[in-house]
Point group: C2
Chain length 440, copies 2
């Protein structure tokens, strides 16, 4: 993409409305714009990030045996009356009457809807387990939306639901998602810590929040230092095998949010405890027959027994993740995108647009990178070099390639890795090769 044609309205000033760094940087780097309170439009750069995050989630969910569906945003109130949640849910639920005065609502979550789907079309106990998910817009009418897409009203969420014959099966489905979640966040360059969460009305211990570490995070966490050294990708886990040992390895180590942590009773010596801050980006929990029972989601076993299905629910805040990743990965100059979710792989800076040598060298690199399947943003604007470098640092693409008049004639470029900031002047082909090697 040529920046001269790209809709990338970066801002030099920090908008007054933004109080946290991700919100500031998303506005300044032209990723999002506010449409109304807690509701945002995603501009081209932000949309690309959102799609990258979705892709990672789709791939990891597919690898874990979950299947993608797509449920609508609007639901019938009657369905929520069946589960008993319609009257319980607070003013966060956006209630709507259609032209025939039917009560509807903008889904804040989809347990009822997916349970209805499975109930109506499950044929046999042999079809279980089932794990279905979708990535769809949700609405929660927060009384005081803030922090940009971190706590918006209309937000994109991946929510998945598992259905099993019994608790043992449900626990297996839960464990698969537990591991898949760790992998998903790791692929996005995030360190995520699973934390025991309130178990809600069901009881039991199958409820975890995933907190990604960010110095600017909303909540303080206290956790065993060994948790921070663990890498879910290093486990070499077979998702079809027994995952209980893997989950145990993660959950047996101490981890607590501020409201649950009490230094007086903490079992860990201070030296083994890490105090950090984090942002919740996912929540998984087992809810048993809470929805299957009232909605009649059951199968008949060979012996004639009617078995009400056991369910679990698995959520990832997709639009929130875009902000959380920035909270976890930025510096004073701007965003530092991890490779997997970067809107482009390379920012190619033509330091003197209009100079024949520079234009030729930049166009040549642009063509070669695109030909090799690398996503490139070419800054071909007629701007000062300082403006171009500042914009590139702000939008935070993993690689920067700068072509100036001297280098263009000598056949060299300056290659910079945004994370770390080290720069190397090297032959254009060598720079190209280094990028290809690293993105492979």
């Amino acid at each position: 993409m040529r920046l001269s044609r790209y809709f990338l309205p970066t801002l030099r000033e920090t908008p007054a409305e933004a109080r946290i760094v991700s919100h500031r940087l998303m506005l300044r780097s032209g990723m999002i714009r506010r449409a109304s309170a807690g509701i945002y439009s995603w501009l081209p750069l932000g949309f690309r990030v959102l799609k990258k995050i979705e892709t990672v989630i789709h791939e990891e969910m597919t690898a874990a045996g979950a299947q993608a569906v797509l449920m609508p945003t609007l639901q019938l109130a009657d369905l929520w009356r069946e589960s008993g949640r319609y009257d319980v849910y607070g003013p966060e639920m956006l209630r709507i009457a259609d032209r025939h005065d039917r009560d509807m609502l903008y889904g804040p979550t989809n347990e009822e809807q997916i349970t209805q789907i499975v109930r109506d079309d499950i044929r046999s106990f042999r079809d279980l387990p089932r794990n279905l998910y979708h990535i769809q817009w949700k609405f929660r009418d927060e009384i005081r939306p803030r922090f940009g897409v971190m706590r918006g009203r209309e937000f994109l969420m991946k929510d998945g639901y598992s259905f099993d014959l019994d608790f043992e099966g449900a626990k297996r489905s839960y464990n698969i998602m537990f591991v898949a979640y760790l992998r998903t966040y790791a692929r996005m360059g995030l360190k995520a810590i699973p934390m025991r969460a309130e178990s809600g009305p069901i009881g039991g211990d199958l409820s975890h929040e995933f907190i990604v570490l960010a110095d600017t995070g909303e909540s303080a966490i206290h956790a065993d230092k060994r948790l921070f050294a663990m890498d879910p990708r290093a486990d070499g886990v077979d998702l079809e095998g027994d995952l209980e040992p893997v989950v145990k390895r993660w959950t047996s180590l101490y981890a607590a949010t501020d409201d649950k942590h009490d230094p007086a009773t903490c079992p860990l010596p201070a030296g083994d405890l890490v105090e950090a801050r984090g942002i919740e980006v996912g929540h998984i929990f087992y809810f048993g027959t809470k929805y299957s029972e009232p909605l009649g989601c059951a199968v008949t076993m060979p012996d004639g027994e009617r078995r009400v299905l056991h369910g679990g629910s698995y959520g990832i805040g997709v639009s929130r993740l875009a902000a959380a990743i920035i909270e976890a990965s930025h510096d004073d100059a701007g965003v530092v995108w991890p490779d997997a979710v970067a809107p482009f792989d390379v920012g190619l800076v033509n330091l003197k647009s209009g100079d024949a040598d520079c234009d030729a060298a930049a166009d040549d690199l642009y063509g070669k990178l695109r030909g090799a399947g690398v996503e490139v943003l070419l800054d071909d604007r007629e701007e000062r070099a300082g403006v171009k470098f500042a914009d590139m640092d702000l939008i935070g693409l993993p690689w920067q390639l700068a072509v100036g008049p001297r280098g263009a004639r000598a056949g060299t470029v300056e290659l910079k890795r945004r994370a770390g900031g080290e720069k190397h002047e090297l032959a254009a082909d060598a720079a190209l090769q280094r990028i290809l090697d690293k993105s492979a």
Copy 2:
């Protein structure tokens, strides 16, 4: 994907609610399920089709210089008051009050919202033209929703908007979209005829609907037979060049919907006229300064002149297309998916699951096809061969590969092309090669 694990609830019976063939087949092939009046959930097979359609659109829009954004589903009523449309729009607009009693609405279209975005962030006349689009859910509260996703209330739409300095620029943007639309439909295996449409409040002739041909289509059309022989992909068009001759070639030929066609005044001799039926799947139109003027979307020219931008609007019914493609491509046995939008490329039928030879041969082919990047659905269920073939024909994947006990031992398979139905018994590797050659 192994069908034994796939959520594909096909139906043998035709559901009573379905009155047109696409609706029947989408329900029967397990693509969609009704959530409430005019609102549907997309099950795994349907979701895959929707994604394929989106991919074709994204690719063709990108090739045409349009950039993807994502605007929210809910909009502020005040924005529509600025344009004057809030009070004009009928009961099809779903009006909503949030918890603070602010008037909002579920967007039926996005002219106001995109105009606001461009207004707030356009920096210079040099940034023009701009063409921004998104694929997002819309809501129109049809009084009598029917025909499944063909005329639903919540529907997925690609809507794009161009902004130019003047009429000449807007016409150029319009022409690019005109050609991009023809290509988009052609890639989906559809024959689309552009038809002059009501020009609305702006006047002028820059308004076309795109009608895809289907015997079961909702409206009758009358058109010059030469239109049916034209292939937009054969034009070899440079989208950056002058497209006026290409557009002229398409628009100079007679084409009219039933309500505008009058045999008495039709300029064509009967022999040159084709009578057909079709479904509207897109609409493009130039709307001038209709939204830019009230919303103040303008730039300042070098001579100090304030120039209000000229806009165009370009819509494609994405969820509707899934149905329209089926209307255009099916037979008595089921759907016949065109390659580009098929949910899987190949249906691999193990005619005797549990038979060691069959299982080994099917697994081998399954692995090889997947290894070559081909999307395969393997029917590994314990069902009769007749049931398996019927389901495969119903869901309509472009290729069917059947492995039976005799063939498994001889190293042969039966390859069937769903469109046309011709079958060949050939060596497994030769069948594999034929599929790879055709999908390349």
